[in-house]
Symmetry: C2
Subunit: 323 residues, 2 copies
């Protein structure tokens, strides 16, 4: 797995480092160069290349589409970091912290346009179909970000709304990454659709796993503070599920815990409630359902099974980060 | 002129009011609806329709391209207003004032994507060529905005840099509006290029006129405070030209005036210096040169002269606002 994954990752890093951006105005392009160099696993563009390879042996044909996804993803991170007032991204200063918000707004804008430039290197039907997908996805990611911001001022969020939000904010871009490769590879409409759904379901499963690991990850493999979501009252699947399943007494206890100022007492208390309500199992079950649906989508794609091995392994890899 | 202009303006208003945006998330789409309803002369999309009509009788074919330009323009205004901390736009609250900066960032992002969606309704070569033009222009407008922000922290800006900045920030979008119509009308490469240059030169002339009228407009037709640029030390063509042409004594006087805190003394003093240095005439001459070049571009377009009448009249109208 790792060797197959790193082949794609290296190709993407190389293409990104060869990607020409203007030198001037430096205050516009230096932040973009800086941010693209912060690294990351490049999972989305990897998915584009892998998906394309199901239908066409030469994955480089999909590189422009793969990079357009990566640039879009970075655009959305730069703007989200402003909105979330996040000081750090991947352990380094965010663009608005290192420069300022104005520069972060404008660098993000340019990066979004760069994504479109990459797609515009295609022609004919491939151009039109990748654009239609990209446009729709870009809008949905913004819709999801707005929903997420709106949720902050709500007391309760129905679980269905939460699932819709993570679908829009995170999962559709994973679906888009995969369908992009399929479109460039001139796959059938049905295979395009299955790959898209595979990505969306995988993306939701991944996000649910993120919520679970924030509370239940062991050791430091996960790289984040355990219980950070609990301490910050983040509306995760776990918290919303607990609010829905709690009886009156439990609900009152949970509401009191949300006001608790001592982090240790808070994390311990919320985890005890999660235990009473079987929240970890319920969330894991939900995650597994999405994972199973995703695998069903992958099965339904009309290409030889052995070709799907890389995607299947990558999906398992992404959903087993704690092992 | 007015009747021909209002025909296009009405068609654009109608198309904009028929333009469907989602209802939800309301915090994302309400600001866009609000901002698009603030009005404006819709000059850029009018230019697209007029340009298209040089080559094709049915101007509605260019409506999607015309609206894409208008949406792009509004995207850039929403984001610029955040960066400039502007409380008002066309006498009404800006999006970040009425809602907040996060909502203004995200609404702007969605509006930019909506522009791309409109272009994606075209096919084949028209799709590819309009996109290439739109991408390039969008980047240049951001480059121009960054240059403008960078200029704020500089003591002196060479006039050539200033002209480059207004070309990028303002004029290329006028050129793009015109070439867009020509591409949709399947004009020759040479006519596309002339229309683009016509627009760029017209756009620069228009911006220079803006600088002149801020100081020399009479009465309230112009709708802005007379001398506002002088009071705020805005680096206009007039100020930069005065700094370039001044001798040592004049330069010292000008530098002292830039520190002056009484607005009346400041405006009066700077205007006296402009008078000594013939700045108004020099700026007007420069504006007229760009105007003449623009008219030369229009002449070189290979369509019957009578068809160009609407564009010629509109150019005259735009450059004679004080009469």
């Amino acid at each position: 797995m790792t060797s197959s994954l790193s082949k794609y990752q290296e190709a993407i890093e190389k293409a990104l480092s060869n990607y020409q951006l203007p030198e001037q105005p430096a205050n516009l392009y230096d932040p973009i160069r800086y941010f693209l160099n912060l690294g990351g696993k490049r999972m989305r563009p990897v998915l584009t290349l892998m998906s394309h390879e199901l239908f066409h042996p030469e994955y480089n044909r999909a590189m422009a589409a793969a990079l357009s996804i990566e640039l879009f993803h970075n655009f959305s991170l730069i703007h989200d970091d402003i909105m979330d007032e996040a000081p750090l991204r991947r352990g380094k200063e965010t663009v608005h912290s290192k420069w300022n918000s104005n520069i972060a707004i404008l660098s993000g804008d340019v990066l979004l346009v760069e994504g479109f430039k990459l797609l515009t290197t295609y022609d004919g039907t491939v151009l039109k179909r990748t654009l239609e997908l990209f446009n729709r996805t870009a809008t949905e990611v913004c819709d999801g970000q707005q929903m997420d911001m709106d949720f902050e001022s709500l007391d309760e969020v129905p679980i269905d709304d939460y699932l819709k939000m993570i679908r829009l904010k995170t999962a559709v871009l994973v679906g888009c990454s995969l369908e992009m490769g399929a479109i460039v590879g001139e796959a059938s409409d049905s295979d395009c659709k299955e790959l898209y759904n595979f990505g969306v379901n995988l993306g939701i499963a991944f996000q649910l796993q993120d919520d679970i690991l924030d509370v239940y990850a062991h050791g430091d493999q996960f790289g984040k503070q355990i219980g950070g979501d609990i301490i910050s009252n983040k509306k995760t699947y776990l918290l919303l599920r607990a609010l829905e399943d709690a009886d009156e007494e439990q609900k009152e206890r949970l509401r009191a815990l949300l006001q608790e100022t001592d982090p240790q007492t808070k994390v311990k208390g919320v985890m005890a409630l999660y235990e009473e309500l079987n929240i970890r199992e319920k969330a894991t079950q939900r995650m597994n359902e999405y994972h199973a649906t995703a695998m069903g989508n992958l099965n339904d794609i009309q290409v030889a099974e052995d070709k799907k091995e890389a995607l299947r392994l990558l999906a398992d890899f992404l959903l087993n980060r704690q092992h």
